[in-house]
């Protein structure tokens, strides 16, 4: 059997926030660049671009991943959720509402990644204690150092979700 030929440009088809999307990408293009530059979803932020800061975190098949450390071609055929996919129209996701209420956003650069990780945490653990929230968010750098209000916001989000938000 002849193996498939290595290529420097490939077609990818994936589902993003519930919509089928396609693009032709360079092999080296990251999932983050595909989302931002090809699909116009600039909510996903690129900070360090080598897996340290966590700002580019998205859900891949439901699990948080660094979209700067995932090639666009590796996401072919898979399901991606970005920060744009959290709210249902004007109805904010509990993590968005909780973080809004507790002033968790300063410059906002790290926010999309934090929200995605927090949403995945609450999916798995609806009633996390503070230590669990801190551990879950440990892969996110906030250069405003606004960590206290971020942790407060995620704990508030858990309350909102339990009170019958989503």
């Amino acid at each position: 059997m002849t193996p498939p030929e290595p290529r420097t440009e490939l077609d990818v088809a994936l589902e993003v926030n519930g919509e089928p999307r396609r693009a032709r990408v360079e092999a080296r293009r990251s999932l983050a660049e595909l989302l931002r530059d090809d699909l116009g979803l600039t909510g996903t932020h690129l900070g360090c671009e080598h897996g340290v800061c966590g700002s580019c975190t998205v859900l891949l098949d439901g699990n948080p991943v660094r979209s700067c450390l995932t090639l666009a071609v590796q996401a072919d055929g898979r399901v991606v959720t970005t920060v744009e996919g959290l709210a249902d129209g004007d109805d904010l996701h509990p993590v968005q509402q909780g973080c809004l209420e507790r002033w968790s956003f300063q410059c906002g650069f790290c926010t999309p990644g934090v929200l995605i990780t927090a949403a995945a945490l609450l999916d798995e653990e609806p009633d996390p204690d503070e230590a669990t929230v801190r551990e879950a968010l440990s892969g996110h750098l906030c250069r405003c150092t606004g960590y206290e209000s971020i942790v407060d916001g995620v704990l508030r989000a858990a309350e909102i979700a339990r009170e019958g938000g989503r």
Partner: protein, 291 residues
């Protein structure tokens, strides 16, 4: 922070991946989860012409419990090792160490086989594989071969795998009866690479004396270090705290750790002694059914 250009291919069989590596020549690289390789490319510390992605090879993501061993496919993620019940049951050391691997988002992509093949000296899996006597199956153009972990890890980021070989799976022996294991590491922040880590294995005879013991370290040299002297030094003795402490100190004294920005060699040796003692104590307690 953009990787240099490369060509990409994602075969769906191991033999297809091997054929692609042979075809591409020496500067091709195997891509698994990409959590170490892609940062290296972003920093332009490597410039492979072709990436052969094994992420779509059927069956490489399986975990299979056999009577005497756990078979772990190369693309099984760290996250899976942390939560798979058969891992917790048959190779509890893997389940214990998995949460120490990087951060959750990295554990969701990074793979067991990728970490073994990458062989970062501060990574958890090479030390764990050495301690448990794991073997890996590597397939190249000449077919598959088995390599003991003790023959796999050569030096900093270097293994004895050939450039046209694919690490297919690891075979991790199920610990014998009255055998306990434990893992612990110290890092500056959660999710960082460890400054130093240790794991220990203790097997007890029916009379409660030590029949088998070993310690493996990470972050203390150019590759993980397995030390089986504790088995000799503790043989026939009860695993009392003083005995374990003495053996742990002796093991740490045999290390040749390095100075770097994060810690001095002397500090690393001290931490290694402490972690060796704690993991030996926990392993002995577990071997005796106490923890």
């Amino acid at each position: 922070m953009k990787p240099p250009p490369f060509a990409y291919v994602a075969p769906d069989t191991v033999s297809g991946a091997v054929a692609a590596l042979v075809e591409a020549g020496e500067d091709a690289k195997v891509l698994a989860g990409g959590q170490s390789l892609l940062p290296l490319l972003a920093l332009r510390l490597g410039r492979p012409s072709v990436l052969v992605d094994v992420g779509r090879v059927t069956g490489l993501d399986r975990v299979e419990a056999r009577p005497d061993r756990l078979v772990i496919g190369a693309t099984v993620t760290h996250a899976r090792l942390a939560r798979d019940p058969s891992v917790a049951r048959h190779a509890p050391l893997l389940a214990e160490a998995a949460p120490s691997v990087a951060h959750a988002a990295v554990r969701n992509r990074g793979t067991f086989g990728g970490s073994l093949a990458h062989n970062d000296p501060a990574a958890e899996w090479p030390a764990v594989a050495l301690l448990l006597g794991a073997r890996v199956v590597a397939e190249g153009p000449g077919g598959p071969r088995e390599v003991a972990a003790t023959d796999l890890f050569e030096s900093y980021l270097t293994t004895t795998l050939a450039p046209d070989e694919v690490l297919v799976e690891a075979h991790v022996p199920v610990p014998g009866p009255r055998t306990g294991t434990a893992f612990e590491e110290v890092s500056r922040r959660p999710g960082d690479f460890a400054l130093v880590g240790a794991c220990a294995r203790v097997g007890l005879a029916p009379d409660g004396t030590v029949a088998d013991a070993a310690v493996a370290f990470l972050g203390v040299g150019s590759t993980a270090v397995l030390d089986e002297r504790p088995g000799v030094e503790l043989a026939g003795r009860l695993p009392a705290d003083e005995a374990l402490d003495e053996v742990a100190r002796a093991a740490a004294a045999r290390l040749e750790p390095h100075d770097d920005l994060h810690a001095t060699a002397a500090y690393r040796r001290r931490v290694a002694a402490t972690l060796a003692r704690r993991t030996l104590q926990r392993a002995a307690a577990r071997a005796g059914g106490l923890a």
